[in-house]
C-alpha cells in the first residue's frame, strides 16, 4: 500500500487548502512581512490538554514573549493567529469557523497537537471528533505531539514566522478565491 493512498484513506472529507505562492518583490512587502512575523498575537483559544502546554509556553520558563507573542487577545478581532490547542469536536467546529471568519486579516492558524492535526487519539471509533482542524479552517502549521512540549510549540511559531517572511501573501489568495466563487 502506498503511503499517499493511505493518507487519503485516513483523512476523509474536504481539507481546506492554505494559501501559498504569491512571490513578493518590493521592499515594502519585506518590511510588512517582517512586522507581521514578529508580532503574532495569539487568540486565547484552548480546548483541552494542549492548552495547558500552551500556557506552559507562555510561562516564565519558555516565555514566548521573547518573540513578541505574549499579547494574547481574547477577541478574534485583534488576534493574528489561532493556536488550535486541543480537540475540535463537531459541536465546536462551527464555533471555530466563526471565530476564524471573524478575525481581521491577515490571519494564521497553527494546529497544535495530534487532535488538531488529525483527530489524534480520537480518530477511530469516535462519533463526535473532527478528524483534523483543517476540515474546518485552513491550517498553516501543523505540530505533532500529544501534547507537544512547549519548545515544540515555539518551533511551530518559528516555522510560521519563516513562512510569513518567505512571502506568502494570504489575503491576495483569499480574495482571488472569493472572486472566483462568485
Amino acid at each position: 500500500m502506498d503511503v499517499k493512498d493511505n493518507q487519503q484513506h485516513a483523512f476523509p472529507g474536504d481539507v481546506h487548502p492554505t494559501a501559498s505562492g504569491g512571490i513578493l518583490v518590493s521592499k515594502l512587502d519585506d518590511v510588512i512581512n517582517w512586522a507581521r512575523s514578529n508580532s503574532l498575537w495569539p487568540l486565547v483559544f484552548g480546548t483541552s490538554c494542549c492548552a495547558i502546554e500552551m500556557m506552559s509556553t507562555a510561562s516564565a520558563k519558555y516565555d514566548w514573549s521573547r518573540f513578541g507573542f505574549e499579547v494574547a487577545r481574547a477577541t478574534p478581532r485583534q488576534a493574528d493567529v489561532i493556536i488550535i490547542a486541543g480537540t475540535i469536536v463537531n459541536k465546536m467546529a462551527p464555533v471555530l469557523k466563526r471565530l476564524y471568519d471573524q478575525m481581521a486579516d491577515p490571519k494564521y492558524v497553527i494546529a497544535m497537537g495530534a487532535c488538531a492535526t488529525s483527530g489524534g487519539p480520537f480518530f477511530y471509533n469516535t462519533y463526535s471528533v473532527v478528524k483534523g482542524a483543517d476540515h474546518v479552517i485552513p491550517v498553516d502549521v501543523y505540530v505533532a505531539g500529544c501534547p507537544p512540549r512547549p519548545e515544540a510549540l515555539l518551533h511551530a511559531l518559528i516555522t510560521l514566522q519563516a513562512k510569513i517572511k518567505a512571502g506568502d501573501k494570504r489575503e491576495k489568495i483569499v480574495i482571488e478565491k472569493f472572486v472566483d466563487s462568485n
Binding site: 464555533v95 466563526r98 471565530l99 471568519d101 489575503e171 480574495i175 472569493f178
Partner: protein
Amino acid sequence: MGPASLLVLILAAVAFATAAILLSKLVLKASHNPVKGETYECGVPTIGKSWIQFNVGYYLFALIFLIFDVELIFLYPWAVTVQKLGMFAFYEALIFLFILFMGFLYAHKKGALKWM
C-alpha cells in the same frame, strides 16, 4: 502659544488618527465572508439585542457625581484665595462641605451608592 495651540493639537490628533487608519486601507486588501461583520460573542450567535434599556445603577453614580463635581468647581476659586482670606473662608468651606457630606450620607442611606 495661546488658544490657537488647542486647535493645532486637535488637528494633529485628527491627522494622526486619520493617517493611521487610512494606511491599512491602502496597503491591505481584506477578505470578505458573511459572518465577519457579525457581532463577536465568544464564537456563537448573539441572543437578543444589545441595545436594550439598561440598568439604572450605572447612571445613579453619574448623577451623584454631578453634584460633587459642581461642588468641586465651586471649590477651585475658593482654593486659590483661601490662604489670603484666612480662617473665615475655612469655616465657610467647612459648612459647605458639611452640607454636601449630609447629602452624601443621605444618598448612602437611600442605597444609591449600593451597587445592584
